[in-house]
Each structure stands twice: as C-alpha cells, then as structure tokens.
Assembly symmetry: C2
Homo-oligomer: 188 residues x 2
Amino acid sequence: MSTRENLITQAALLLDKGGDAAVTLRAVAHAVGVSHNAPYRHFKDRNALLAAIAERDFRMLALAFEGTRLGDAEPIQRLKEALGLFIQYGRDYPARYRLLFSDPGIGAAGGSLEAAALKAFTAFAGLVEDAQSTGALPPTPTRELAGLIYATAHGLVDLQAGGRMREQKGLSAAEQGVALLLLLLGAS
Amino acid sequence: MSTRENLITQAALLLDKGGDAAVTLRAVAHAVGVSHNAPYRHFKDRNALLAAIAERDFRMLALAFEGTRLGDAEPIQRLKEALGLFIQYGRDYPARYRLLFSDPGIGAAGGSLEAAALKAFTAFAGLVEDAQSTGALPPTPTRELAGLIYATAHGLVDLQAGGRMREQKGLSAAEQGVALLLLLLGAS
DNA sequence: ACCTGAACACCGTTCAAGT
DNA sequence: ACCTGAACACCGTTCAAGT
C-alpha cells in the first residue's frame, strides 16, 4: 500500500477513534511512521486529506446502494434495506458520517469528491424509482422524492450522531423515523 | 452589559463572520477588550462559551415558535410559518445553526442547554398538534410526527448549510423540500 | 519524487500574581 | 470577584536541505 493510501487509512481510524479533533496531521503521520510534514507531499493541506477519506467512503456507499438495487426482494424492501445500511453506517462511524454529510469544508470541495457524492445519491434515487414503479411510493418526480427521503434520513442520522435523539423528541431511533416516513408516504 | 454577556455576543458575531474556527478565545477576548484568558473567569472552557451561544439561540427559537402558535392564521399555515422561520435562521446563520443542531460537543452538553433545546422542540410540537386537530396532518402520535418533521427540516437545512443542496439532488431549496413533505403528508 | 528537521505563527489552558 | 502576563504543550504550514 502506498504512503498516500496509508495516510488516508490511518486518518480514518483516528477519526473513528477520537473524532475530528483527533485527526491532526502530526498524529496521522506518526501512525504511518513518517515525519510530521510528510503528508504535504501527498495532500495540499489537512482538508484535502479529510476530503480523501470522504471520497473513499462515498464510493463505498455508492457500491453498497448499487448492490442493494440488484437484490431480488421487493423494490420497497430493497429501499428499506439501503436506508438501514445508511443508518447503520451513521451509527457505527458517527464522525466519519458527519465528515461526509455535514462538514462545511467537505461540502464545498467540488471535483472528484462531489462526483463521488453525486454517484451515491444517484444510486439511491434508483432505489426510490424502483419502489415508485410498483406503486409503493407516490408518483412525485423521482429526484424530488429521493431528495426528500435522503434529507430526512440524513436529518435523523445526524440528530442521532449528535446525541440529540432524546425519547422526548419521539425519535428513539433513526430506523423508527424512516419507517414512519415510508408508512405515511404510503408504503406498507 | 456584563463581561459575560459581551463574551457571548462577540463570540456569536465571530461565529457568523468566520465559522467555528474563527471563534478562538483569544479573538473573542480581544473583541471584548479583555486579556486573552479573562474568558476563563466566566466559562469553564471554549466549549462552555459555545454552549452559551447555543442556549441563547434555543431560547430565541422557542419564543419565536410560541409566538407563531398564537397567530390567527390556520394551524397548518402557522406550522409552515414556523418552518419558514427555522429555515431562514439556518440560511442566515449557517455556522450558528450547525452549532445548535449538529455540533457533537454541544449535543452532549446536557443541563440548561438541553432544557432550552427541549423547550424549543416542545413549542414546535404544539404547532404540529394544532395542525393535526384540523385534519391537515395525519393522526399519528404527535411526538413521533413532530420529530419526523423536525428531523426532515433539519436534514434539509443542514444539507443546505453544508453546501450540499445541488439541483441534481432535487433539493433546490429547503422550503421546497418541506412543502413537498407537508403535501405528501396530506396538507394542501 | 519523496522525505526530514528546524522554524513560525498560531491555539487552548494553567498558574502565580495583581486590584 | 475579576483581571493580567508569562509560560506550556500543542497545532498547521512553510522552507531549506537531504537521498
């Protein structure tokens, strides 16, 4: 594995273990076994390293969604499966999730990162389209409906990852919120 | 105005102007006109100062929601009005919004901050309840339905604040997403 | 092409004093 | 009770060298 790949991997591990603040270039470099400024040979700055983590995970999510779409369950079930995956990802890797979906520095990155993010969303929209074709979801324009479900799932997961899922808010778990949305949208 | 109040105000202004990274205790202290470590006489650490900003704004949001509930428009219209306020707040003060609704350090704060956040949500749930009573929204348990709408609005605003509202995602504006949700939930 | 050590300008936080 | 100046242990980033 190249030094560049090693840097991304170790940075992701530090992110999982200690959150955004733990991902210092010095700690990443030390984990890889190079000097504290060797990362600058591979990334423009700290933000570029974070963007590389995000891009890698967006590609993974896109693959997961595309794989789910090929399953032989009912389309609406496949959509629920994908949403379950998404929620699980947010629960298992909250800091990573927030990097991909909430970090302002990452959202403005553009380029290949934005392309990867768009690819993940497009795969997700495909799942929504399939569910619409069986009448399990309303015939709203697919892009708008997929965007709404995507944003709702994101809102639920983000509140969960931020520790804001109090029982008092009627949101004991993100899964419950997504299930309620699909139920109200007409999927039984 | 007390030094403590001044510190909160200047910190909020720096947050609006330059984002989270611009809120250094040194910059805040300098803006108020005290030495770089005077803030420690009023706040335990940097996070406590940020929490004070968040608490102040949660109280403001609660008041705004409570005020909206007293209007004389149709209940569903009052709910839309409150959601419009919420979205506008997120658009005008994205960094502040992210502090209140996405920052992990703030979500785990507990105490009076959590009480203020809960009060804002409770006021919001009251608006949902009123809309349900006229049949404009389904008779789902209010807490769950309010939580779902809250999470959806949050997801839309957060994606917007993070620069992830691309036309390709079918989400040209948070308002549009919320309107679609209410439409699909049966509010015309 | 890739890496290193020294250096700079920042931080948050603590501490011993001052009034 | 509130504030200050000095100091410590960190950061990201740059630069002049080294192989």
